[in-house]
C-alpha cells in the first residue's frame, strides 16, 4: 500500500447526456479521504453528491460518464480500471449503503443468501464459513436472533432492520472505504438515531473510512470528522465538523444553517432566512462562483468573472473555503431564540375541536371463508383543539395516525366514533360530499407531495381557477384576475398560470398548491407534511409563507409533521402522537421542556442537531412500533418505553395528567417525570 490518502479525487468531472445536451453535473472536484476517516458530503438535491459516490464506484449508468480527472484509491486510478479490476474492488475494498434499504435488497432472496454471497464471491470461502461470517455480522449490527433473520425475506423486516442488513452486507468483507448515500433518509427519527449510533460504533471497531452523503446536516455532525459542502457540483467549503458548523465562511453554508429550523428557535424570535432563488441548471455555467446568483453577499465582477480559488480560513489550517469574500464576512452567529408564553392567544373559542375521535379501518377486503379479522385502529379516543388564528401541530412517526386526523378533518374519511367540530358545526360524520358549500370553503388542505399535489394534465391557472369557480362561485371570465392575485399572495409570477406542473420546481408546485387552497379564503388550513419532500432552503421559504399567510388572514393552521424542529418553529400548540393516541399535548414551549412524556423525550433526544456543541444523552427505543393487530392493552407505548414502571403499564391505559393546558398520558406522575428528565432543548439567547 502506498502512503498518502486512501481516496484522492483530483479534478473529477462527470457529465450526463440529456436530451437538452451534455450536462456537466460535476465540473471539477477534488477532495481527499484518509484511512479510517469519516467525511460528510452535504448539499441539497441535485448538487451532485450522489453522483460523486457513483463515480467512485464507476456506476453512472448509460447516460453518465467521467469526463476528466482521477480517482486514486489505494494507489490505483479507478477511472481507468477495467471491469475485472472494478469487480475486485467493489464490495471488497469499497462497499456501499444506500438510501432506500427495502429497494436495495433483492425481494425474492433471503437476506442470509444475500449476505453470504459477498464473501463467497470475493474470498471464495465455503457456504458454511460464509454463513458463520454472516451470522457474526448480523450480531454485530445488533439484530436479535440472527439465525432466524438469515431465513427472512426483506419484506418481512422493518425499515431499520433492512438498513442494518445492508450495513452488515457492506462491512462483511472489511472494506477500506464505506460509502453511505443518504443512509437514514426516509427512516423515522428514532430509527435514524439508532442507525447513526450503530454506524459510529462500527466505525470505531472496523476502521473503515466513511464517505457519508446526506442532505441532513444534523446526521453528518453525529457521524463525521470532516464535512465538505457541495453546491452545483463544486465544493464550496470543507473542513472539520466543528469549524464548519461553528465558523462557516461560505455564504451558502451559512444559508443552509440559517434556513434550518432547530429545536431551539421559533418563528417569533428567530425567523428562518431562506436562500433566495433556486438552484440553476447545470447546463448554463458562468465562469465565476456557482452560487453568485443566489448569494446575498455577491459582488458582481469579483464573484462572477473568473473561477473562484479555494483558500484556507485564517487560523484553521484544515478549513478551506471557495469564496473570494470569505475574509470580509463577519463572523457567523447561530440563529436561535424562543419566545415567551402566549397564553392570551389561546383563550379563544376553538375553531377546530376533536373530541374522543376514533377511526377504525375495515381490514382489506378479501374473499374470506372463515372468521374475520379485527378492524385496524388508526386513531383512538383523540382530543385536540385549535383556536382561531392558531397553529396546532400534530407530530409523530409514521403510522401514528396523524394523517388520519387530517383526513377526518377534511372529510376525506369519516370518524368511526367521536366528533370533530369546525367553527361550532359537527363534521366528524360528514364526508366531504355531504358538507355544504360554506363548510367546504371553511377548510382547505395543503398536501405533502409536490409531484402529486397538482394534476400534471392541467395548468396551474386551471387548478386555481377551478377552485375559485367551485368554491367562490366565480364566473369563468372573472377567474383570471383572481388567479393572478392568488399567485401574487404565494409569490409566484402571473405567468405561472399558463405552466403545467412539469415545468415547475418542487417549491413552486407547493406554492401553487397553497394558492389553490387559499382560493376559498379558508378559516382552517390543514397542511399534511407540506414541506417534508422539499430541500431545506425551499422548505424555509414555504414555512415562512405559511406562517405569513396565516398571520395575515387570521386562519387556523393544522400542521401535520414528523419534523420536531419545524414544529418547534411554527406551532403554538403541539400534540405528540403514538400509535393512534395522543401522548402529550400542550403549548409548544411546555411540550419541549420537562416534564416530557417518555415518548416525547425519546423523540427529542433522537433529533439530529447540526451543532457539535449540542450534546444530549440519546434515549434509544428498542423494538419496533407494534402492528395494528398487536396493540397493547395498557399504555400503547409500554412495549418500548424506557421509563416503564411495571405491569401497570401493560395492563391499564395511562391516565391523562393535566397541568393547566399541558396534558401527558402516562402512569408516572408529572413531578416524578420532571425530576427524572433533563431538558433536551436549551434555548439560547438571541445573538449570543
Amino acid at each position: 500500500m502506498t502512503d498518502g490518502p486512501l481516496l484522492d479525487v483530483q479534478s473529477l468531472s462527470v457529465a450526463y447526456t440529456t436530451r437538452a445536451g451534455e450536462m456537466a453535473v460535476i465540473p471539477g472536484l477534488s477532495f481527499q479521504l484518509n484511512a479510517g476517516e469519516a467525511l460528510g458530503l452535504v448539499g441539497e438535491s441535485g448538487c451532485g453528491k450522489s453522483t460523486v459516490a457513483l463515480a467512485i464506484v464507476r456506476y453512472l449508468g448509460r447516460a453518465g460518464r467521467i469526463t476528466g480527472g482521477r480517482i486514486r484509491f489505494e494507489g490505483r486510478d479507478l477511472t481507468t480500471l477495467d471491469e475485472a479490476g472494478l469487480r475486485a474492488i467493489r464490495g471488497r475494498r469499497i462497499a456501499m449503503v444506500y438510501q432506500d434499504p427495502m429497494a436495495s435488497l433483492n425481494p425474492v432472496m433471503t437476506v442470509g443468501r444475500q449476505l453470504m454471497e459477498v464473501p463467497m464471491t470475493h474470498e471464495g470461502v465455503s457456504a458454511t464459513s460464509a454463513r458463520a461470517r454472516a451470522l457474526a455480522m448480523l450480531a454485530e449490527v445488533k439484530l436479535a436472533d440472527p439465525e432466524a433473520v438469515m431465513e427472512r425475506y426483506p419484506h418481512q423486516l422493518s425499515g431499520g432492520q433492512q438498513q442494518r442488513i445492508v450495513i452488515a452486507m457492506a462491512l462483511i468483507t472489511g472494506p477500506a472505504l464505506l460509502i453511505m448515500d443518504e443512509p437514514t433518509t426516509g427512516l423515522d427519527v428514532t430509527v435514524e438515531a439508532a442507525v447513526l449510533d450503530l454506524v459510529r460504533e462500527l466505525r470505531s471497531r472496523h476502521r473503515s473510512a466513511i464517505l457519508f452523503i446526506s442532505h441532513n446536516l444534523g446526521s453528518v455532525v453525529r457521524v463525521c470528522d470532516r464535512v465538505a459542502v457541495m453546491y452545483r457540483g463544486e465544493l464550496v467549503e470543507e473542513g472539520p465538523v466543528r469549524g464548519i458548523f461553528t465558523n462557516p465562511r461560505h455564504p451558502y453554508t451559512r444559508g443552509l444553517l440559517d434556513c434550518l429550523p432547530t429545536l431551539g428557535s421559533d418563528k417569533r424570535q428567530a425567523p428562518l432566512v431562506p436562500i433566495a432563488g433556486q438552484v440553476e441548471s447545470a447546463l448554463a455555467r458562468s465562469p465565476g462562483c456557482g452560487f453568485a446568483a443566489r448569494c446575498p453577499q455577491v459582488e458582481i465582477g469579483r464573484c462572477t468573472s473568473r473561477p473562484i480559488p479555494s483558500s484556507t480560513v485564517h487560523g484553521e489550517p484544515d478549513h478551506r473555503v471557495a469564496c473570494v469574500r470569505a475574509d470580509e464576512l463577519a463572523r457567523w452567529t447561530r440563529r436561535s431564540g424562543t419566545g415567551g408564553a402566549h397564553d392570551a392567544d389561546r383563550a379563544r373559542e376553538p375553531m377546530v375541536a376533536v373530541r374522543h375521535l376514533t377511526k377504525l379501518y375495515a381490514p382489506r377486503q378479501r374473499l374470506r371463508l372463515r372468521g374475520s379479522r379485527a378492524p385496524v385502529r388508526a386513531v383512538f379516543d383523540v382530543e385536540l383543539a385549535a383556536g382561531r388564528g392558531q397553529t396546532l401541530a400534530i407530530v409523530g412517526e409514521s403510522g401514528c395516525g396523524k394523517s388520519t386526523i387530517a383526513k377526518v378533518l377534511s372529510g376525506l374519511e369519516v370518524a368511526t366514533a367521536g366528533g370533530v367540530s369546525l367553527d361550532g358545526v359537527e363534521v366528524g360524520a360528514l364526508a366531504v360530499d355531504a358538507r355544504d358549500a360554506t363548510l367546504k370553503r371553511k377548510l382547505q388542505m395543503v398536501f405533502q407531495n409536490p409531484d402529486s399535489t397538482l394534476n400534471p394534465s392541467h395548468t396551474v391557472g386551471y387548478a386555481i381557477g377551478r377552485a375559485l369557480r367551485r368554491l367562490q362561485g366565480r364566473s369563468a371570465s372573472d377567474t383570471g384576475a383572481g388567479v393572478a392575485r392568488l399567485l401574487d399572495v404565494v409569490k409566484l409570477s402571473p405567468a405561472m398560470a399558463a405552466r403545467t406542473p412539469r415545468q415547475l420546481s418542487g417549491g413552486e408546485k407547493q406554492r401553487a398548491a397553497i394558492a389553490r387552497a387559499l382560493a376559498s379564503d379558508p378559516d382552517v388550513i390543514v397542511a399534511d407534511e407540506p414541506v417534508s419532500a422539499l430541500d431545506v432552503s425551499v422548505q424555509a421559504a414555504i414555512v415562512n409563507l405559511l406562517t405569513e399567510i396565516q398571520a395575515a388572514r387570521g386562519a387556523t393552521l393544522v400542521f401535520i409533521s414528523h419534523d420536531l424542529a419545524v414544529v418547534r418553529y411554527l406551532a403554538d400548540t403541539v400534540a405528540v402522537m403514538y400509535l393512534g393516541t395522543v401522548a402529550e399535548l400542550g403549548p409548544v414551549e411546555r411540550v419541549f421542556a420537562p416534564p416530557y412524556h417518555p415518548y416525547t423525550e425519546a423523540l427529542l433526544s433522537a433529533v439530529p442537531v447540526p451543532d457539535p456543541d449540542h450534546a444530549v444523552a440519546r434515549i434509544l427505543l428498542e423494538g419496533r412500533v407494534p402492528r395494528a393487530d398487536e396493540i397493547p392493552r395498557g399504555c400503547p407505548f409500554a412495549t418500548r418505553c424506557p421509563r416503564r414502571i411495571g405491569p401497570i403499564c401493560d395492563e391499564t391505559p395511562p391516565p391523562v395528567q393535566r397541568f393547566a393546558d399541558h396534558r401527558i398520558a402516562c402512569h408516572i406522575p408529572g413531578d416524578e417525570l420532571q425530576r427524572l428528565q433533563a431538558p433536551l432543548v436549551e434555548p439560547r439567547a438571541v445573538g449570543r
Binding site: 464506484v57 456506476y59 448509460r62 472494478l86 469487480r87 475486485a88 474492488i89 467493489r90 464490495g91 471488497r92 462497499a95 456501499m96 444506500y98 432506500d100 429497494a103 436495495s104 435488497l105 433483492n106 425481494p107 425474492v108 432472496m109 454471497e117 459477498v118 464471491t121 470475493h122 425475506y153 419484506h155 418481512q156 445492508v166 452486507m169 374473499l367 371463508l369
Partner: protein, 312 residues
C-alpha cells in the same frame, strides 16, 4: 394456499356456467336453424317445424338448458350433426392432435423467448437489444396465415424441403415429423415475438431497480447478477403471460391449422360453427373455457411460487 384453490375453483365453475349458458342461448337467435341444417335447404317449413318439435327445440331455453346440464353431468355431451359421431369422440380426437402441436410449440417458445428476452433486456439499448426488439416486433406483426404463406413459399414451393400440409396422414410420402415442422415454426415465431417483448420489458425494468445496483456494487460477476438477482424478479410478471400461451396454443391456433389442413381442435370448432353444429360448439366452448381458466390458475400459482411476498 387452500383458499387460493377454493377461490379459483369457484371462479372456474362460475365461468363455465356463464359461458355455457351464453353459448346455449346464442342458438335462440336463429330459431329453426338446427332442424333446417339437418334437413337441408329443400325441406318444407312443416317438416322443419316438426323436427324442431321432435328434437324438443321449441321448449323454453331454460328448460332445455337444464336438460343439457343434466345430460352433461351424466357425461353425455350430445351428438355431432356435422361429424355424425358422438361429440365426445370427435372432441377428444381433435384435442389430442392439437395438444401434440401445442406441446412441441410450448417446449420451444419458453426457452427461446426467455433467452432472447433476457439477452435483450439486460443491456437496454445495446445493439443486441435493438436487433432482438426489432426482430420480435416484426415477427409478432405478421399474421399467422401470412407467416405460413411466406415460409411455405420458401420451404415448400421454392426449396421443396417440406410438405405444405400437415394432415397427419401417411399419404404423400412425408413423415408426421416433417409435416409438423412448418406449423410448429409458424406458431413458435408468431408467439415468441409477443412473449420476447414481454420478457424484455420486464428485464429492462428490473435492471433499473436498486437491488441490481446493490448486486453489481457487491462486485458480483455480470453473469451472477443476471442469473441470481435479475432473472427471478424479471420472470414474475411474464410467468402469468407465459402460462396464458397454453390457452392460445390449444384454442387459438385455428388459423395455423387451417393453413396446413391440420386436423386440430380449432378447425373442428370452425367447422362446427359454420355448420351450426350446436352440440359440438357448446362442448368445444366448454372445453376451451375450461382450459383457459385452468391455465389462468396455473399462471397465478407459478407467480405465487416465484414471489415470497405473495406466498406468506
Amino acid at each position: 394456499m387452500g383458499r387460493f384453490f377454493v377461490k379459483h375453483l369457484l371462479f372456474l365453475l362460475l365461468t363455465l356456467f356463464v359461458v355455457s349458458f351464453l353459448v346455449f342461448t346464442l342458438n335462440e337467435f336463429s330459431p329453426g336453424a338446427v332442424a333446417r341444417k339437418v334437413l337441408g335447404a329443400y325441406a318444407t317449413q312443416e317438416q322443419v317445424d316438426l323436427l324442431t318439435k321432435q328434437m324438443g327445440l321449441d321448449r323454453p331455453v331454460l328448460v332445455r338448458y337444464v336438460d343439457y346440464m343434466r345430460a352433461l353431468a351424466a357425461g353425455d355431451l350430445g351428438y355431432s350433426a356435422r361429424f355424425k359421431l358422438p361429440v365426445r369422440d370427435v372432441i377428444f380426437k381433435h384435442l389430442a392432435n392439437t395438444a401434440l402441436l401445442a406441446a412441441i410449440a410450448f417446449a420451444c417458445i419458453v426457452p427461446l423467448s426467455t433467452v432472447l428476452g433476457v439477452a435483450a433486456g439486460m443491456r437496454e439499448a445495446s445493439r443486441l437489444d435493438r436487433v432482438i426488439l426489432m426482430f420480435s416486433t416484426v415477427i409478432a406483426s405478421i399474421p399467422e396465415f401470412a407467416l405460413g404463406v411466406f415460409l411455405a413459399s420458401v420451404f415448400v414451393v421454392w426449396l421443396g424441403w417440406l410438405p405444405g400440409t400437415a394432415t397427419l396422414l401417411a399419404g404423400g410420402g412425408w413423415s408426421v415429423a416433417a409435416q409438423l415442422v412448418l406449423p410448429v415454426t409458424v406458431i413458435v415465431l408468431f408467439d415468441s415475438g409477443y412473449v420476447v417483448s414481454m420478457i424484455r420489458a420486464s428485464v429492462v425494468e428490473v435492471m433499473q431497480r436498486p437491488y441490481i445496483r446493490t448486486a453489481v456494487l457487491k462486485g458480483l460477476p455480470f453473469r451472477a447478477v443476471i442469473l441470481r438477482h435479475a432473472l427471478r424478479n424479471a420472470m414474475l410478471t411474464p410467468v402469468t403471460v407465459i402460462m396464458l400461451q397454453i390457452n392460445y396454443l390449444i384454442a387459438g391456433v385455428v388459423v395455423v391449422e387451417t393453413v396446413f389442413a391440420y386436423p386440430g381442435f380449432g378447425r373442428m370448432i370452425l367447422e362446427a360453427a359454420l355448420f351450426k353444429d350446436i352440440a359440438l360448439i357448446e362442448a368445444g366452448a366448454l372445453v376451451a373455457v375450461f382450459l383457459a381458466v385452468v391455465t389462468n390458475i396455473l399462471g397465478d400459482f407459478a407467480y405465487m411460487l416465484l414471489d415470497p411476498r405473495i406466498r406468506a
